[in-house]
Every structure is written in structure tokens, then in C-alpha cells.
């Protein structure tokens, strides 16, 4: 995971009740979020969820329709992009095609007034090229660089200005899978090394989970949940989050009893299941029970749901079973290798009993 960020660290940027409309289209609705100094924060969501709009408002390319954008404590709603101490790595990099690598990277420094001495700019450019492991590439043309190299140039062009926020708009989207993995690790290293606050926009949950200190999950222009990757995985506040972050099994039902610490849910087939309520449940009581496959265990006998094994995929450390319950339908169980070694593996067609701890069953809003 990313660098340790003290929970009480300073807020560097903030969205306060930010709403953005493009004509009739509501792109972002009542966003509230504090970005802490030095953290690696990701906006995660499908396309059209408003994450890019949020980023563009931080960059200064869009002004909020309502609410305030704050940088370092100051409201910057109408401060244009070229006045903000914020830099962005664009999705397709947006490198200047008529300039060399060094000229691209030095561009931000050349805009400074009073002017910086040429030698100082050249010196800083070559140091930054070293940081992104492109030492000696100063005089290359942009079109001579590979996709991965171009991305490093785009990164160098932004970080050379030592921005308060570094915004990354799906920076890995154009890279192939292997290169993407490498760049993810490099980006994290770089963030730790520079101590700059990174704000990433992505639709790739794996990318967000592996790189971020905190993730802000968005849907239809709203923030659904903000938290560390572990929090989002262990305590999703809705079915949407549980489904987006990792894999889970969902069983729809109605709240039957909410008096105790645990909630009892009557599943659609009449089965009663106890679970831990997370977040506020809607009053209609229409809920879903979410259980992660690795928190379910398979037994030969005992209490639990009687199922039949439909499929078995051996994954090394784990074995993934697709099981069928006659009322609940198909769902997944992930069994550790160790339990298979002690209990023996189940074969396709075997009868088995599935059980889980009450604490592993989360009672969630069905949306």
C-alpha cells in the first residue's frame, strides 16, 4: 500500500458541496471531499460517473456550478488553470509535438515570471529526466519515444513544477498490461520519493486498490464511499461498492429483525440469515446480504446451507468452487489450499455444506 499518511495530516484540497452541470446534464452532484497533503487518492468509477469532471475542477478547466473548490485553504472556483499550483498528466499525455523532450519538460519552468536562467532550467530538466529514468533523452523528438517513454515525459513535465497536487487522468489506459504493472509500482515509488499529493482517476479497480492510500468511489455524479482499500473491501456501504471492489456473493431479502447488534434478514426464499448491518439501511427494508467467497467455508457436514458443487477451479493457493443452492442459486466459495489438504477436495457433483460467520455477512443497501 502507499505511504503511511497520518490521519491528522493537513488538508491540501477540498471539494465543498460541489455540483457541476453541463446544460441539463448533471456531471457531479454535491461532492464533499478533503484531500490530505501527501496522500495518494483515487477517484474510481465507471465512465460517466463524474470522476473526470471532479479532476478537471481541481485542475481549473471547469468551474463548479455550485459549491466551492479549495486549494490550500483558499476558494479557487474562478482561478484559471494557469494560475493554479496544480499539474496534470493527461490521458493521451498531450505532449507538444513540435518540441523536444527537454522543451516539453521545461515548458512549465519557462512560463515563470521573473524568468529563470536558461542553465537552471536545463539543469532541472536533466535531473527530472533522471528521476523518471530517461536520462540523456533531452534532444529526442516526442514521436521518437515509445508509449511508456511518452508517459514518463508527461510525468516529468508535471512534477518538475513541484505542484501541490499532481492530477493523473487515466494515465495507464494507453499502456499494455505488463507495462501498466511496472508503471504502477514506479508511480508509487515516485509519490513516496517526492511527497507530492497524487490524485488519480481510473476505472480500473485493481489499479486503484494497489496504488491508493484512499479511494473515492463514484457513481452517477455522486461520491458513494471514501476509504482506504481495506475499508472499502471489508466494510462496503452498499452493494455497488461491494460489487465494484473485489468479488462478492449477494442474496436479496427483507429485514426481519433489527433489534439486536445483528440484523436478521429474511431471504427471498424464506431462509433467515443473520448479518452485520453496514451504513444506513433504507426504510423499506429491501436489502442484500453480501458474503465474500473467501469468507465462506465448505464442509462435509454440520450447520449451514446444503449445496451441490457445480464447478471447481484450482488456482494454487486457493480453489474456487461454484456451488448451487436449490433456492439461492449459484454462488462462489474460495477455499484455501490448507483446508483442502486437511478436509480433502470436493469434486463436481458432491454435496456439501456452506457456512460463514455472522460478522462476514454484511447487510447492505440493495443499490
Amino acid at each position: 500500500m502507499g505511504a503511511c499518511t497520518p490521519a491528522d495530516s493537513k488538508t491540501i484540497a477540498e471539494l465543498r458541496g460541489v455540483t457541476k452541470r453541463f446544460g441539463d446534464v448533471l456531471a457531479a452532484s454535491d461532492l464533499n471531499l478533503s484531500i490530505r497533503e501527501g496522500e495518494f487518492l483515487s477517484f474510481l468509477g465507471p465512465s460517466g460517473c463524474g470522476k473526470t469532471t471532479a479532476l478537471r475542477m481541481l485542475a481549473g478547466f471547469e468551474a463548479p456550478t455550485e459549491g466551492d473548490v479549495l486549494l490550500d485553504g483558499d476558494v479557487v472556483n474562478d482561478l484559471e488553470a494557469h494560475h493554479r499550483p496544480v499539474n496534470m498528466v493527461f490521458q493521451q499525455y498531450a505532449l507538444f509535438p513540435h518540441m523536444t523532450v527537454a522543451q516539453n519538460i521545461g515548458y512549465g519552468l519557462r512560463q515563470r515570471r521573473p524568468r529563470l536562467p536558461k542553465e537552471q532550467i536545463a539543469d532541472k530538466v536533466s535531473k527530472t529526466l533522471e528521476v523518471v529514468q530517461l536520462g540523456g533523452f533531452e534532444d529526442r523528438k516526442i514521436w521518437e519515444m515509445s508509449g511508456g517513454q511518452q508517459q514518463r515525459v508527461a510525468l516529468a513535465r508535471a512534477i518538475i513544477n513541484e505542484p501541490k497536487l499532481l492530477l493523473l487522468d487515466e494515465p495507464m489506459a494507453a499502456l499494455d498490461r505488463k507495462l501498466r504493472k511496472e508503471m504502477q509500482i514506479e508511480l508509487q515509488d515516485l509519490q513516496r520519493q517526492l511527497g507530492i499529493t497524487f490524485v488519480l482517476v481510473t476505472h480500473d479497480q485493481e489499479e486503484a486498490l494497489s496504488m491508493s492510500d484512499r479511494i473515492c468511489i463514484m457513481r452517477d455524479g455522486r461520491i458513494v464511499q471514501v476509504g482506504s482499500p481495506q475499508e472499502l473491501y471489508d466494510r462496503p456501504n452498499s452493494r455497488y461498492v461491494a460489487d465494484f471492489v473485489g468479488t462478492s456473493n449477494f442474496f436479496d431479502g427483507k429485514v426481519a429483525d433489527q433489534s439486536g447488534e445483528l440484523t436478521t434478514v429474511c431471504l427471498n426464499n424464506g431462509l433467515h440469515v443473520r448479518g452485520t448491518p453496514v451504513g444506513e439501511l433504507i426504510s423499506s427494508g429491501e436489502v442484500t446480504i453480501s458474503v465474500r467467497p473467501e469468507q465462506m467455508t465448505l464442509h462435509r457436514q454440520g450447520d449451514g446451507l446444503a449445496v451441490e458443487v457445480r464447478n471447481r477451479i484450482f488456482l494454487g493457493e486457493h480453489t474456487e468452487y461454484l456451488v448451487n443452492h436449490e433456492a439461492l442459486g449459484d454462488f462462489l466459495v474460495l477455499s484455501p489450499r490448507q483446508s483442502e489438504l486437511t478436509e480433502g477436495a470436493f469434486g463436481v457433483g458432491d454435496k456439501a455444506i456452506v457456512s460463514w460467520e455472522d460478522s462476514a455477512a454484511l447487510v447492505l443497501d440493495r443499490n
Binding site: G60, A81, Q103, Y107, A158
Partner: protein
């Protein structure tokens, strides 16, 4: 059919056309330019430089062409660039289409008719009459270099707008955002990003307009009223009025040579500018 024959077939129609309509006539003109005028008009074959020695007599035509063509090109550029910029960068998609059509609309009418309209506008009962109403008297516009300039800018503006529009339209707008993001104020973004990346469009537009202006005949004839004339008008005069084909040929050859030299120098300049665009960008 081999690839080779196919390629030749592709080139054949245009090649034949150019040979018959361009190369052969040019050669004929070139040969004529060393001849002598026949007593009854036309040409007598000879080998003499007499016609070329006589060129200074038509100096005024060359002077007019060589001043009004560059000035016209430059003025068209200065008027066309902001328009093309607005069309490509600023206008909404709906307005863009409407405005682009408006730029083309003049082509639906013959240049002859449109130039006649200008004769009226610039003539005594047109703009000068309006100026008299506000107390400015004695302004003469028609048959002046200014009238010819107005006419050629009007006639050739679309040819300048389109190449520049195309180069600005395909300019990646995120480059402008990136420039702004890196701290460049709007006019510096223009100087460092927009302008250098639109040089191909500017070069094409200027070339098109300039070459056509060098050979312009109709507009000076109508709006210059015989007082402001181009080499093109001199040629018409020599070939059709005084029927001095030999001298006319010499003038024509000289025009072609001047045009070739100008265009070559211009191309060199543009190429050098293109090669060192990086220096331009660090203004």
C-alpha cells in the same frame, strides 16, 4: 496487370492533360519570346533578346503585381487567421457549420458578378456617397490600388481561411489545456502552441493565394479601370490588342520565372521555420 502499369494508368489522365495544356504551351511561349513581331501581328521566328531588353517598358505592371500580390496575401492572412481560429477553436458545432457554409457561399456566384458588385460599392454612388453624408467629401475609391486590393482580398479570402481552419481544427485541444495547466497565459499558449502548430496551414494558404494573385487579371481590369494593372492585364493587352506575341511571350516567361524564384525562396523560409520551430516556440 502489373503494379507498374496500374501506376502509369493512374497518372495517365493528369499527365496527358499537363503535357498538352501546360508543358507544350509553355514551350511554345518560351520559343516565341526569342522571336520578333510580324508586321501584321503574331510572331516571326528569330533568336533575339530584343524583347527581353524591352521589358522595362512594362515595369509598372510588374511593380503593381509584386507589391499588391504580397500585400494582398498578407492582408488576407491577417483577416483569415482570426476567422479560422474562431471557426476551429471557439465556435459551437452548430455555428461552425453555418459559418463555414457562409465562407463558401460567395463561390456560388461568378467572380465576375461579384466584382461588378464592388464596382458599384466603391464607385461614386457607393461608399464615397455614404462618406459624404457624414461630411467626408472627395473620397475616390474606384480605379485605385486600394480598390484592387479590396477586390483581391475579398476574392481570395476563402482560399486562405480553409487551409488555416483545417490545421487549427485538427490541433489537439488538450495541448492548449496542457499549456494552460503548465502555467502559460492564454496569449503565450497561442504563441507557443497554437501558432507554431498552424504554420502548415498558413504556408499552404499563403502559397495558394500568392500564386493565384501573381496571375490575376480580372479584378485589376474591373476595379483598377486601366489605371492599376497587373502583369496579367499587360499580357492580355500585348496578345490581343497590339498583337505583339513575341514581346508578350517575353513578359509571360519573365512572370513565370519571377514566380518560381519567389516560391522557391518562400519554401526555403518555411522549411527553415519548420525545422527550427522549437526556437520559435521559446519566445
Amino acid at each position: 496487370m502489373t503494379r507498374r502499369t496500374r501506376n502509369w494508368l493512374l497518372l495517365a489522365p493528369a499527365g496527358t492533360w499537363f503535357l498538352v495544356m501546360l508543358i507544350i504551351p509553355l514551350t511554345v511561349v518560351f520559343i516565341f519570346s526569342f522571336g520578333e513581331r510580324a508586321p501584321a501581328g503574331g510572331v516571326v521566328p528569330a533568336f533575339t533578346f530584343e524583347q527581353y531588353a524591352n521589358l522595362p517598358a512594362r515595369w509598372a505592371a510588374f511593380k503593381n503585381t509584386m507589391t499588391l500580390a504580397p500585400i494582398g496575401t498578407l492582408s488576407a492572412l491577417l483577416i483569415a487567421y482570426p476567422l479560422a481560429y474562431y471557426l476551429a477553436v471557439k465556435s459551437s458545432p452548430k455555428w461552425k457549420t453555418i459559418l463555414l457554409v457562409l465562407v463558401i457561399v460567395p463561390f456560388w456566384t461568378s467572380i465576375l458578378i461579384r466584382s461588378y458588385a464592388w464596382i458599384f460599392l466603391l464607385g461614386g454612388r457607393g461608399i464615397p456617397a455614404l462618406l459624404e453624408l457624414v461630411g467626408i467629401e472627395g473620397v475616390r475609391l474606384i480605379n485605385t490600388p486600394f480598390a484592387v486590393l479590396v477586390g483581391i482580398i475579398y476574392g481570395y479570402l476563402p482560399l486562405m481561411v480553409f487551409p488555416i481552419y483545417v490545421s487549427l481544427d485538427k490541433l489537439d485541444k488538450r495541448l492548449l489545456e496542457a499549456s494552460s495547466d503548465l502555467g502559460a497565459k492564454p496569449w503565450r499558449t497561442f504563441l507557443q502552441i497554437t501558432l507554431p502548430l498552424s504554420i502548415p496551414g498558413i504556408a499552404t494558404g499563403c502559397m495558394l493565394v500568392f500564386i493565384l494573385l501573381m496571375g490575376e487579371y480580372l479584378i485589376p481590369a474591373l476595379l483598377g479601370g486601366g489605371k492599376v494593372f497587373f502583369v496579367g492585364n499587360a499580357l492580355v493587352d500585348l496578345f490581343l490588342q497590339s498583337r505583339n506575341w513575341a514581346y508578350g511571350s517575353a513578359v509571360a516567361v519573365t512572370l513565370v520565372v519571377v514566380m518560381l524564384i519567389t516560391v522557391t525562396v518562400y519554401m526555403r523560409l518555411i522549411n527553415r521555420l519548420g525545422a527550427s520551430r522549437e526556437d520559435v516556440s521559446i519566445m
